[in-house]
Subunit: 211 residues, 2 copies
Amino acid sequence: MSPLARRPAAPAPGTRSRILATAAEEFGARGFAATTVDRIARRARVNKAMIYYHFPSKRALYTAIVRSHFAPIVERLAAITAQQAPPDQQLDLLIQTLVEAIDASKPFLSIFLREIADGAVHLGSEDLALLAGIFGTVRSVIAEGTSQKVFQPVHPALAHFTIIAPVIMFRATAPVRARIEATRGVVIPDADRSTVVSHARMVARRMLAPQ
Amino acid sequence: MSPLARRPAAPAPGTRSRILATAAEEFGARGFAATTVDRIARRARVNKAMIYYHFPSKRALYTAIVRSHFAPIVERLAAITAQQAPPDQQLDLLIQTLVEAIDASKPFLSIFLREIADGAVHLGSEDLALLAGIFGTVRSVIAEGTSQKVFQPVHPALAHFTIIAPVIMFRATAPVRARIEATRGVVIPDADRSTVVSHARMVARRMLAPQ
DNA sequence: GTCTATACTTCGATAGAC
DNA sequence: GTCTATCGAAGTATAGAC
């Protein structure tokens, strides 16, 4: 190789992951349709054509982000139920893990909310399977507790969302609450993770306590 | 007026409301950016130019929808706290009213979720005031109960979302749950309104019961 | 792997006749 | 109030040089 030759094909290791991270922020903040590939490129400091070099389409880029966020959550949840602990202990661990997952990525939380509003039209059957896995895990732990008479009988889906929806909505509404605080001069206290976990556990315990 | 003259300006009473209803469905199902004025026009069976005759812009149409949905909810909530009932009774009424509001318009529920994901960028200070009103009403009833020692102390925002977020997410996820049922052959029971109200009241009562 | 330039499409919005 | 026709701005995606 001539020393005078240029190096036109030097790999830039951070490029692909920088695209993914920036795209997640944009999709989360604006939604799929309102996100432009131009803007992702500019913010990730790559050329727009580079995005199409790494991903076949805007949609494929979006799908890659969704998969990479869902999969590890389901794995961690499965690890908890694999151990044969009592239902109330498993539920405490499930709550801890779910709150950590929700806190792990603010953009993904927004993507998740939009996906629900969309009726999950962007999710393939593999993604739906991951979602069903999360739902099924919580549900089976509650069902086990009910059959052992340590939990009272509850509507499965309503119980599931009673545990997790408050955390989702509380975290997701943080920017809106901040705007209300700023605009209207009221103080709405935030909460750190241990406060949120404690609250969710308290709610779960009280909701499921036998009559 | 000559009998031969045409009547080019016959009013079509249903036009404006048909635009509003169709636009709400589209904004709910697709989000603001993905919704096209062309499609609203086609589905509402009006000419696109008619939309711009009734509303100055796509954004103004969206805002009109948001206002018309938020305002009556806040009114009904205010009517409840105006009466001087005990906190637990007020809370039961608040829950009933909020569940009814959530069930009243499926499109608006999706619009609401997307607005949260957006950080409420489409909402002006008047809309934020309405949102703050909903939040403040629940919050003040809980605070009153706590100061009367009939409720235990709780984090205001977490308590608020513990009561209302499960209902929001349960209703909003109905299409996704249906897809999971269809794709994966599992049965996820739905719930009618009285079941949802009872569940939310049970959760609120148990969460707020003094230790 | 990276860039420039551009083809192709869609969409919000308006002009102007009736 | 209602229509047709169209402008102009963005935006996805690709071709092709280096």
